[in-house]
């Protein structure tokens, strides 16, 4: 390989690599450095120590925010998988072939609204004077409006809504990739539909479900808007705490340290389910 041809090969990949290094890797480097500094008396001082990290784990309200993030992330992931799987199954096996694409597109249509708009829309539904409360009051199930908005439940509902759509899409894709021969073979060998599903279809789609579940967890834990709009400020999650550091106090060192903790949490989640997460070129 001559030097010239090697350059010829590189020059196609180079722009994207340079962009990623300049605007993704280098900023992360800046953030790591910033997390080792300190904001003292309104100025950011290069102190070079791990105090921000130590401080994080000694302050109960910050640890609580991390735990809230993890709890909400896990709850949302589990609920979303259980709600999405049957829907994906119905679309893949009960909807006639030529309507499947339409059924799927419909199932993920509201996916294409921004987080801000979608969360606001849920606020309309869950607020004190919202649809759910006025309906329940009208039919007399409750006497006082429920305080769903500004609680963890609203955050979870908003998230589950988004991720049911995402997971329906990924699980459907998985079900469709399965050759029908597996199910036929199982039926020939005398398995009923339930046993076929439990022993054949479910295990074969599990890797795809894991990928979807991992994505759900990661996006959930890193999101600021849904908890901010729907959850309010009674129970903060980690991204809310990070944004508070930036917005109210301009404490970039602290915000940077917390962001890196958030990244480490995601990395840990990745390592935990890495063996199911094989995203290869097909």
């Amino acid at each position: 390989m001559s030097a010239q041809s090697s350059w010829k090969r590189w020059r196609l990949v180079l722009p994207a690599l340079l962009w990623t290094v300049a605007f993704f890797i280098v900023p992360l480097g800046f953030m790591v450095v910033m997390s080792l500094w300190h904001r003292i008396g309104g100025k950011i001082v290069a102190t070079w120590n791990f105090e921000n990290y130590i401080e994080f784990f000694t302050k109960p309200h910050l640890v609580k925010a991390l735990l809230n993030s993890l709890e909400i992330g896990l709850t949302v992931t589990v609920i979303s998988i259980f709600l999405a799987y049957p829907l994906a199954w119905i679309i893949a096996y009960r909807v006639p072939e030529r309507w499947q694409r339409t059924a799927l597109l419909l199932a993920i249509l509201p996916f294409w609204t921004s987080y801000v708009v979608r969360s606001y829309a849920w606020l309309l539904v869950l607020a004190k004077q919202g649809i759910v409360n006025s309906f329940l009051l009208d039919i007399g199930i409750i006497a006082e409006p429920l305080a769903i908005a500004s609680s963890r439940y609203a955050t979870i509902i908003g998230f589950v809504h988004f991720f049911v759509m995402l997971l329906t899409l990924t699980i459907y894709a998985n079900l469709r990739q399965l050759s029908p021969n597996y199910a036929r073979a199982a039926a020939d060998l005398g398995a009923g539909p339930l046993r076929t599903f439990w022993h054949i279809i479910l295990p074969l789609t599990l890797p795809g479900v894991m990928v979807g579940g991992f994505l759900t967890f990661v996006l959930c834990v890193g999101d600021y808007i849904t908890p901010k709009i729907l959850g309010g400020s009674n129970e903060l999650v980690l991204p809310q705490v990070i944004m508070l550091q930036i917005g109210r106090r301009a404490d970039f060192p602290n915000a940077a340290a917390m962001s890196i903790i958030l990244m480490l949490v995601v990395t840990a989640a990745y390592v935990l389910c890495a063996r199911w997460l094989k995203m290869e070129r097909s």
């Binding site: 010829k8 090969r9 020059r11 196609l12 722009p15 994207a16 690599l17 962009w19 990623t20 290094v21 605007f23 993704f24 890797i25 280098v26 900023p27 992360l28 800046f30 953030m31 910033m34 709600l83 049957p86 119905i90 679309i91 009960r94 597109l105 419909l106 199932a107 249509l109 509201p110 294409w112 609204t113 921004s114 987080y115 801000v116 708009v117 606001y120 829309a121 849920w122 606020l123 309309l124 539904v125 004077q129 649809i131 006025s134 809504h161 049911v164 990661v218 999101d223 600021y224 808007i225 991204p239 990070i242 930036i246 970039f252 940077a256 962001s259 958030l262 990244m263 995601v266 070129r281």
Partner: protein
Amino acid sequence: MHGVRRHVVNTLSAFYAVLIYGFIFLPVGVLVLFSFQDSRLPIMPFKGPTLKWYEAVLSDSRLTDSMINSFIVAMGSSVVAVLLGFLAAFGLARYVLPARGLQRALLTAPLTVSYLIIGLGLLIMFNAMGVPRSLWTIGIGHVVINTPLCFAIIYSQFGDHQVNIERAAHDLGASEWQTLWLVTAPMMMPSILASFFLALTFSWDEFIISFLLSRFDVTLPVEIWGLLRSGLNPKTNAAGSMVFLISIVLLVLAELLVFRRFNGRVNRK
């Protein structure tokens, strides 16, 4: 017996599907319905319909300006992201490069990091270098999040069957760039367009990076975020419905332009 069971399964399936579809469409339905509300609050009972909130949105120059900003940023950043992604995908799919795995990992790494962290990192860097926040900085952030996506989509569609056609073009005297633009790019058009429209909608809807990296000129989601401070308001409903409508138009365009037209070609592979 068998027929009865099938009937039960079908009924249950239909019931479940209606429930979940209802859940999925409930917020959007409420959002759009109450954008036509003829009173000051978007709550029951519904009075109307009226278009006055849409008028209010369209005559609010801050909202329309931010809409134009969003459009500029989305267009610009998507073009750059698709270009970078396509070239990288071609380079990695066609040439044996050292450390391929590492390059692929690096290119897709931003997908695994939350937008908040990407935005914060850029903010800290731009602050340190004295770069003022503007539409340009938002655009840079959107290219960072969309390039991996475009790369992954286009790369996954590069198969070996196109190699022969590229070789033929080469044998007939086409230069590398001619082959790339006149042969490979048209062959890859479905995935190029698909990733372009996806990048467009992602940038159009993106909030946190735009929020962190903007100052005076903001994008539409950031402006709507500002509207939320006034609580429930039919004007916000109207603005939100319009954002949603534009995303849907982009999707329908993608569906018509990419999937319908190229469906035969994609399936034949």
